[in-house]
Amino acid sequence: MKISVNWLKNYIELDLSTSELIDSMESIGLMVESWEEKDDDLIVDLETYANRPDTLGHLGIARELSVKLDLPLKEQSWPISEIGIETSDLIDIHISDENLCPRYTGIIVKDIQIGPSPDWLRRRIKAIGLNPINNVVDVSNYVLFSTAQPIHTFDLAKLEGGEIIVREAFKGERLISLEGNDISLTPEMLVIADKKKPVALAGIIGGEETAVSDSTTDIFIESACFDPVSIRKTAKKIGVQTDASYRFERGADISFLPQAAMMTASLLAQFGGKTTKSLVDVFPNPKNEKSVVLRHHRIKELLGLDIEEEFITRTIAMLGFSIDQQQQKIWQIKVPSFRIDIEREADIIEEIARFYGYDKIPLTLPPLKELEPGMDQERVRINELRQMMLHSGYDEVVNFSFNDPAKEMVLKSGKVPIPIRNPISTVTSLLRTTLIGGLLENVAWNINRGADRVHIFEVGKTYFSQGDNTHEEQTLAFVTTGFVGFEHWQKKRKKADFFHLKGTCEALMSQLGYESFSFKTKEVGFFEEEQALLLHLKGEKVGCLGMIKREILDAYSIKRTVWAAELNLSNLFQKQHQTFHFSPIGRFPSVSRDVSFIVDQDVRYQDIKQTVEKLSIPFLESFYLQDRFMGSPVPKGKVSLSFRFIFRHPGKTLLAEEADSYQTQIINALKTGFHFLLREEE
């Protein structure tokens, strides 16, 4: 909100440099967003607060500064020239619902000459960035930006039946606004109506028909207040925000309405008008002023600082609050109606702190009385997992949690996405059900910018609905494509493939203590046929990995092959992981045996592995596939597999014969299970 310093000087004697003024303002929370010197004036643009409608005018700002600078507010007087007619003789006011319109005041100015405003007024209006229109409009704006009370003026001659009715609109009623918009009114909208029709949308915008024009001579001035929620709902519904609605939404000063009306009348009187006698004031249910108790000890308890009683008493008074009673460091305070934000002791304490100066509050530290673990297991594990991914050479990304419905269709995650009712755009109108979509966007982005390798991961939530419920799942996904590692003169660069991805999965699972994981071949939505695995743990699916389908890659305009994996961490972390135990290192030498087999090409490694493990050979320490070979001299349709088996006894050196017998046991099991042929038998 723009504030003119010259305008402020109507209310307060200011003699500060620009920087002194800005410092004073900011020290009490009036944040200066920008300022400029213009036409011998200083214009500051202030941040506004939703709870302080009283500061939405120059008077309110002057009042704040008067407390800060310990300067008195100047008294203002608004002389009028009255005629002998009572306002109520010319107009009747009815309020249909006092909750929606708690008070309505009005006064009439007759015989006014519509024309341009005098220079001083035009200057004020221009100073805050508005265009002067005519004396009546400029006066209403002047009153609004002086006192924060919105004023509306009607051409009295155009109000039919000498009546103002504040009521909810009837179904089917319409109003052409001042801006020329034809608004279709609905029954919950509060309107100002004359005997026949709505003439204004209460507190938001006036109607064109009853607006003041060049031919207007008599003016009805409205100074009223309305229910903030009703104003806000209507303004939102018709998509309009005016200076008036902005203030009424935040709350008006119900006591000030007559003064605002009189101020308007007095200013208009300067243009030759004459005011009717005694304004009309419909105020069905006046409320008492709010009363708040302030206890001195609470100030120290909340601020950590003792503030002298004298400062407190003085500040309260300067803020315009009155002290009802004061006894033994307890103040009973009456709050003026313009401070709608003050309701409780804490609110008063903030006022004291604000003017005392936040900078005078000391620095202390809250005592630590209890210690807690710092973070839960899930967070600990996610941190570990991120480090593992980084060590495996994957770069970390963070994507928006949204997805494009078109992409979601192509991805086919198998989950029901959650739509956003008011998205910023169509492409961000769903919540993502998988992280893979975002990662593919990143792959495309980086390839288009010349990346020859993209190995990236993301940890974040995926979202889906099930029946009426929404779910969030902590998820890890990673994708790999292109070269692995840096180029180096010593060795040839490898390219990523399925096993690069799978190796990362295996390493993660075993590092996290989930050694008993297994893979199952199964078709998965994202992946090419026969190019996908499910990751299982204790009989439950915890993830999937494979080669991304061509049609998905096409949707992201990626030409390369991309492998991806996704793990459901919420599921995974629910599983008990093996806790770490130290096992003594073997003190006796191991015996290793290398065995090569010729076997049908479609025999699966995982089956071989399980067969060997099932034998539970006591001193088989480990075994692994050393080599896999196809083509001559291995016959067509067959493959040669070379395993190394390592045996070790914890308490003695194994004899060659013992190792031999275990080896035979393994060979026999594989021969019967898979028709293995030893290389040398071939």
Partner: protein, 344 residues
């Protein structure tokens, strides 16, 4: 026996000659094979001959052979050592060639920065908490003292799922969730993802990260808030920064404050500083004493307990710290950008 003796003598002579002519490792190996090969070497031949001798002669003969064998081995070893020494000088590698580089993944800058913030609070005995990203209106607004239809909600432009569910606009609902579960003392930080209905531009995004802090206990004061943030901000940025608390408004704190730090880019010396706009101050945090109504909403007696809360944007603060000009860089995930943080 005599035969054997003369044979050894002859071998020895031949050996001395041969050794003097060996110039490289290959010749050395050849000579080694000639004498020491297990099956066909001269020494093996001598051993075979030994077997034909009468038993009483075997001991002396054996000794002779062994001495001879030891001599050969020692001579060959000497020669080998010489070759090895020479090799070092002859075949030196160009050590200025680049070493093998290990490819470490780069963490996302927002995570790096978040962890840096978390670490400081963990040192101060704070615990880390989080909650759902899809929230109810109650937790996101009402419990935090935003009445329905209050204009204060305008500052938190919201993405809605339906009338009741929304994407949390701040991490503050987790304050409520934690206070409902746990009685004071509470000392937590809440880093997390939040959402706003904002079109991406250099300083806005529809999703970003925030970190919230909450301390509730007997006798917690505004001075404690100042002390805590003073420690945090100095640890985070620099021990010499200036910190300014100024009054502000948030529905869920009373009194409320905004916290600025002195601009570390221009040190308040540039009128057209891109970061502080010449004011010398950069807004970093919102904070305040927990509003008594918020405490009442979670059945904590505000007459007995008090608390403070604070919140800051992780993106915004990281942008300030690393001088990143555009918030969208965080979410484009250009690896040239991310890889810059491989050293963090």
């Amino acid at each position: 026996m005599k035969d054997l003796k003369s044979k050894i003598e002859q071998y020895r002579k031949e050996f001395e000659e041969a050794v003097s002519e060996v110039r490289d490792s290959a010749a050395l190996q050849k000579l080694r094979n000639l004498y020491l090969s297990r099956k066909k070497g001269y020494v093996a031949g001598l051993m075979d001959q030994l077997k034909t001798l009468p038993n009483e002669a075997k001991r002396d003969a054996g000794q002779l052979i062994n001495t001879f064998k030891d001599h050969i081995q020692a001579e060959l070893q000497k020669l080998q050592d010489t070759f090895q020494k020479q090799k070092k000088y002859v075949k030196a590698v160009d050590l200025t060639l680049p070493g093998t580089k290990c490819y470490w993944g780069a963490p996302h800058p927002l995570r790096v920065f978040q962890e840096k913030m978390e670490d400081i609070f963990l040192r101060m005995g704070f615990s880390i908490e989080d909650g759902p990203e899809i929230e109810t209106d109650y937790y996101n607004f009402e419990a935090l003292n935003f009445p329905p239809h209050h204009p204060a909600r305008d500052d938190w432009d919201t993405l809605y799922i339906n009338d009741d569910l929304l994407l949390r606009t701040h991490t503050s609902p987790v304050q409520i969730r934690v206070m409902e579960k746990k009685k004071p003392p509470i000392r937590i930080i809440i880093p997390g993802k939040v959402f706003r209905k904002e079109t991406p531009d250099p300083t806005h995004a529809p999703m970003f990260f925030q970190m919230e802090g909450l301390v509730v206990d007997l006798g917690i004061t505004f001075a404690d808030l100042k002390g805590t943030l003073d420690f945090f901000l100095k640890a985070m940025f620099h021990n010499k920064i200036k910190i300014r608390f100024r009054p502000s408004f948030f529905p869920f704190t009373e009194p409320s404050a905004e916290v600025d730090i002195s601009c570390t880019v221009c040190n308040g010396k540039k009128d057209d500083c891109r970061v502080c706009g010449g004011t010398g101050w950069v807004e970093i945090l919102g904070a305040g004493m927990v509003d008594p109504q918020v405490l009442k909403n979670v059945n904590i007696d505000p007459e007995k307990y008090s608390g403070f809360a604070f919140g800051m944007g992780i993106d915004r603060t990281a942008m300030f710290e690393y001088q990143i000009p555009d918030m969208r860089l965080f979410y484009e995930n250009d690896l040239r950008f991310i890889r810059e943080f491989s050293r963090k």
